[in-house]
Amino acid sequence: MIRIEPRTSPPAFLRVLVPPFAALAALLLAAIPLAIAGADLTQAYRLMAEGVAGSVFAITETLARATPLILTGLAAAVAFRARLWNIGGEGQLYLGAMAAVAVGSGAIAAPVLLLVPLVMLAGALGGAFGMAVPTLLKTRLGVDEVVTTLLLNFVILLFVQLMLEGPMQDPMSMGWPQSLPLVDEATLPALVDRMRVHAGLVLGLVAAVAAAFVMTRTTWGVRLRAVGDNTAAARHAGIPVGRTLLSVGLVSGGLAGLAGAAEVAGLKGYLTADLSPGFGYAGIVVAMLAGLSPLGVVAAALFVAAVFVGADSMSRALGVSSYLADLIVAMSLLCVLVGGFVQRYRLVRTG
């Protein structure tokens, strides 16, 4: 008989090794769909690597793609750590982007140093509002937040389309559903000349460091982790669970909203309904790959961004469906989940 037994203390080397091995395993598993699609494997992997890091352009593209993923990854990591299942990052990202456009497209005239922070603040508030509703429904009425956040993603995306065909539509867009462009003073500067990577990346890195600090070194962080580890015990210890969850929800939604604001202000310049190719959902994968650690989120976001950018450029060259990238990302999540099991349990032979 083989029995499953929890490890008393998971060895540190496993904690560090599991995510990279899961990522590697997913990349290797990608050989199966690649072979089925009839691609030359060595060529495919070489093209992927070149697409990620083969040139300055490739590297900046990967960094640009990682920027929103760091922020949505943090949004998921912070919430999941408190066992608040925020699956609504996608919707909150769009609310943040809408708020950013509302503030930054000419409504307020201000110098760069004032307007950019205002636009980012608006984005964070927009996203925070988006998560406040399901969090309050959870803490006040006991409504499961998983399903409400998932469903709200659809509601919010439809609302964005409504606004882009109505009140927020750029009158100069010839009927295209897109918003007014942000004014120059509201735009995040590029980090490398003529490349798409922008100051949002710095914002993401600062947010990651701040989140790491707050979660490990402050009372709020202790409360958040206590609620996540054992809600009943936390309540018993006098921690205001409802208020803690609400603040976690606001921070988590705010981070996702920041992702939307940064995409609009750093990359696109205006809002369309296809701003995000699923950054909110991918953020969940990023958070899990990172083991919910804020600094790990940066590494995980770089990996997921690399998969998207690398598989995209390989797909274009070889004519393999670009859904391969989503497939690799999904498989890496499955692999890291299995890795998490290896980390926490061991198999014991009995009898």
Binding site: I4, V146, T148, L151, Y323, D326, F341
Partner: protein
């Protein structure tokens, strides 16, 4: 047009039943999983995979029922994966389910694109035709409502009865319900907790996939990207609304179908004044409202989300 005029139209109710059908499959599937103690958030992806696999099987010449079988097996396969990861390995049901959704969806899309690389308009199949049931079809009104439905809708209705009977009138159902409430008691009886739970998740996932196949083989006749569009998540909300009861699940799905069919009618009436997105939001908002209403009295299976390991207290 008056509201009442809409409500007495057979066509309206026929549409409501049609909209409800995939949800009935999905809710029954989710209900089976959750009654056994396993939340299956893979549902959205399993719907998509079932829709694609069923359609593709028919397109490749497997015949309509062959397509349904392929869809069910595809669903059961993803269910097996979810079951193995969440039951004996005891991984987070939330995250594993989302992983299954991402995996099943991307696999379905990748397979479709790889099989049909340069297709502009999705190829069509000959879908299920309305089933002419003797006697029933001749009844006034009911005949007009049910006479428009295909065999898959009838299958869904029969399955409501079967699942109810299985859960409430058979030893298997008793064991299944017990494994979702008190797995240690089931283990003490000498039954396999792992076997029951994995089996329930496989069966439930097969039903979800057939719900997806209804979309491509009965409601429409082709596969489109993003055609599932949150139906899986709506089912997860409806299970709670239905208090995990098959009969109430049917009622909830029909109520939902009626509301959705109603907003489609309303759209043709006042579509010029109200933006179409408002109507498209209705199903999701309705589901959230249903959740809020149900939250107070929700009586979750007691061991839902709780991993259980053999030989461990």
């Amino acid at each position: 047009m008056e509201v009442l005029d809409i409500l007495i139209q057979a066509n309206f109710w026929a549409a409501a039943v049609r909209i409800a059908t995939p949800l009935v499959f999905g809710v029954l599937g989710a209900l089976l999983c959750e009654r056994a103690g396993v939340l299956n958030l893979g549902i959205e992806g399993i719907f998509t995979a079932g829709a694609m696999a069923g359609w593709m099987a028919v397109w490749l010449g497997a015949g309509l029922w062959g397509g349904v079988l392929v869809a069910a097996l595809t669903g059961a396969g993803f269910g097996l994966l979810h079951g193995v990861l969440t039951v004996p390995l005891g991984l987070s049901q939330h995250v594993t389910g989302l992983a299954i959704t991402l995996f099943a969806t991307s696999l379905a899309y990748f397979t479709y694109r790889t099989a049909l690389p340069d297709i502009a308009t999705p190829p069509r199949i000959e879908p299920f035709r309305p089933l002419d049931v003797p006697i029933l079809s001749d009844l006034p009104f009911i005949g007009a409502v049910l006479g428009q439905q295909t065999a898959l809708t009838w299958l869904a209705l029969v399955l409501v009865l079967v699942v109810w009977w299985m859960l409430n009138r058979t030893p298997l159902g008793l064991a299944l319900r017990a494994v979702g409430d008190a797995p240690e008691a089931v283990d003490a009886q000498g039954l396999s907790v792992y076997g029951l739970r994995i089996g329930a998740v496989c069966a439930g996932s097969a039903l979800m996939a057939v719900g997806g196949a209804f979309l491509t083989m009965s409601a429409f006749d082709a596969f489109f990207f993003e055609m599932v569009n949150g139906r899986g998540w709506i089912c997860i909300a409806l299970v709670i609304f239905a208090s995990w009861q098959p009969g109430k699940a049917l009622l909830g799905a029909l109520l939902f179908g009626a509301f959705d069919a109603f907003q489609v009618r309303l759209q043709t009436e006042v579509g010029a004044v109200v933006p179409s997105q408002v109507f498209l939001m209705v199903p999701y908002v309705l589901s959230i409202l249903a959740l809020i209403i149900a939250a107070r009295r929700a009586d979750y299976p007691r061991a839902l989300l709780q991993p259980w390991f053999k030989g461990q207290r």
